[in-house]
Symmetry: C2
């Protein structure tokens, strides 16, 4: 089978957000339109140039993209709604890349948009009784993984909380972030406990927002006179779901490892060559597990690397310079799209006060409930 | 830009349903598993042969495919959930075809599954006040279009109701149909009125169910030793959304026309060459409008062709031999997938008592709320 790199090249040429924020009365159409318009304006192309649109959302109802796109014009383009829980935006981005890379479209718009509503997990609709009442909510799952990491590594919860300190400080530099306040270690540790040792400042907030990217072929870049120096190449796209692993309790790490290593291998990029990474840090412990799983440091070295500043903006590799899910926020549908936009911004050198110097290559990583995982490698 | 036919050939090699039915206590996982297992068994391949899975659903919550597929094995394949209202299944099928045609996968599973729940249309969540209370529910929209057709064509509602008579009779030959009872014209006309002149037997029922197809490349067909004589080629895939038309009140017909004519042109197939068509007959008037729009007869000739038996099984072209949305049912997520399965069954000559003789070429057509439209042309 082929990979994305075997097809024609695909580039991110436009990015935009509606800032992630606490739930509000803002109509979801306004959220989505703001991000879509920003991405089109950033690309410098009209909506009529878009051949295909993908809408990522997990919480909104049927056909939510149409009332948004209608404001941009009724051009007749194909519209597809994609959902993969937290990885919805990453999945929509992958689909758009596939369509452009295969030649079926020259220009695609990917728009992630969501508002908190009645969050429904399908499993609760399954009609199948649990054999035991063993369902563990996500924050408790990750609180248990934090305990496990502490037990096996010798780190303590103060160490793991350093993830949140870094990401809140990054978020404070990001005008699109839901949380824009720098936090000290004492503040993070002293915040309200959510589950186990995890405090609310170590968990992603509930919120809403939108993010959009415009994806193009080289033909379209030339046709629209887009500056190729601002076009960010999508080197690879990997998608997996949970498999059977030797250590079932480590499935988060093992799924991330398999997916990211495939994306890196297909891109021909070593983990050590990554300058910027946006990863799924819905809970602080996740970043610790995933930087090791994706090879940003050796197993067991995440805490020492973090404390040495290696994952800070300006460090060896900037991890979640946007603020990550902890500070940038995680409105679900937009999150994976926003990661791509952040990496594109960084690789263009346009990230302002949160710019990581000399960023050339980046990776975006998302996990979705039900254990799907996506990784994309981009470069300029 | 390329079309599907410019990429490598794609085939439907496995089909399966869980019968469409009135809402019940059957878990959605059971519905989906039944269809997926049937499609894999029909193809004669294990789940481990599937490289990528697409789940179509509109009414179920986040990540609903995972609890279904988990029963088939945790092989690590990519899983994508797609939603496009009534066209969800058609969209998922298109995505799977794109992935196989581009070479990113050799074998893909498309599973549509849904259960009635709290049906939410996104527009009701938009937070935007209507300028006027002008929202028209679908059955009233189509009741008005029926009135308009009567006014312009000289047909009467008895003529339009013949669509429902034909489709109920087809459904009576289909063990997977939600409605399996033949109906006389008097029964159709005498049933409870839903809106305007439309009776309940001229409207698709609310229901649940599942449908699945396995899509493959030629490489995979050879590798798995599949009988190429039972592999149905996907000649083209067209997707559009509503554009600006000269006659805004005819957007249903004009969108269908543009989409179907593009699918036929890309396939190199004339409308007159179609043997089998499954179309979006959620309301009887729709079939009348769409057979004209897609060129199965001349404008204004739908009623006379229908009454002459041209659209019956064994007629010039069998329209909705499955029973269509009126009798087969319309569980939303599965519908577009089930259409592809019905056409594949017909083209293989395996449709038993509802077999249309010498079926070689078919078209599947679906519309989704928010005005998206999909058309696929298949041949054997």
């Amino acid at each position: 089978m082929k990979t994305l790199k075997d097809l024609r090249p695909v580039y991110v040429v436009g990015i935009g957000w509606h800032g992630y924020q606490d739930r509000s009365d803002t109509p979801y159409v306004t959220l989505g339109l703001t991000a879509a318009r920003a991405a089109l304006q950033d690309a410098g192309v009209p909506f009529s140039a878009v051949d295909s649109a993908y809408i990522a959302r997990a919480l909104l109802g049927m056909a939510c993209g149409r009332p948004i796109l209608r404001h941009l014009g009724a051009t007749g383009l194909p519209i597809t709604h994609v959902e993969n829980a937290s990885a919805s935006g990453s999945t929509a981005f992958r689909n758009a890349c596939t369509e452009v890379a295969s030649g079926l479209a020259d220009t695609a718009l990917v728009l992630g948009v969501d508002k908190p509503g009645a969050v429904v997990r399908a499993e609760s609709q399954s009609g199948i009784e649990q054999l035991a009442n063993d369902y563990i909510v996500p924050f408790t799952h990750f609180a248990l993984l934090a305990d496990k990491y502490v037990a096996r590594s010798g780190a303590d919860m103060r160490d793991i909380a350093q993830v949140a300190v870094k990401n809140h400080n990054n978020g404070a530099l990001n005008p699109h972030a839901q949380r824009q306040r720098p936090r000290t270690l004492d503040e993070v540790l002293g915040a309200r406990r959510v589950s186990g040792e995890l405090t609310v400042l170590q968990c992603t907030p509930v919120g809403e927002g939108a993010a959009a990217v415009v994806v193009m072929s080289e033909d379209a870049i030339r046709a629209h006179g887009i500056d190729p120096g601002r076009a960010v190449r999508v080197l690879s796209s990997a998608a997996k779901s949970q498999a059977v692993y030797d250590d079932a309790t480590a499935f988060d790490e093992l799924l991330t490892q398999a997916t990211c290593l495939q994306a890196l291998a297909e891109a021909g990029v070593a983990p050590s060559a990554l300058d910027v990474v946006e990863l799924h840090d819905a809970f602080s412990i996740e970043e610790v597990l995933y930087v090791e799983a994706m090879g940003l440091c050796k197993p067991g070295q995440a805490i020492s690397a973090l404390k040495a500043g290696e994952f800070h903006i300006g460090g060896r590799v900037a991890v979640s310079p946007s603020g990550g899910l902890i500070a940038m926020g995680h409105p679900i549908g937009p999150t994976g799209v926003g990661q791509i936009a952040e990496i594109a911004l960084q690789l263009r050198g346009e990230a302002g006060p949160r710019q990581h110097p000399n960023a050339r290559t980046g990776l975006a990583h998302m996990v979705g409930v039900g254990a799907v995982c996506y990784a994309h490698v981009l470069s300029i």
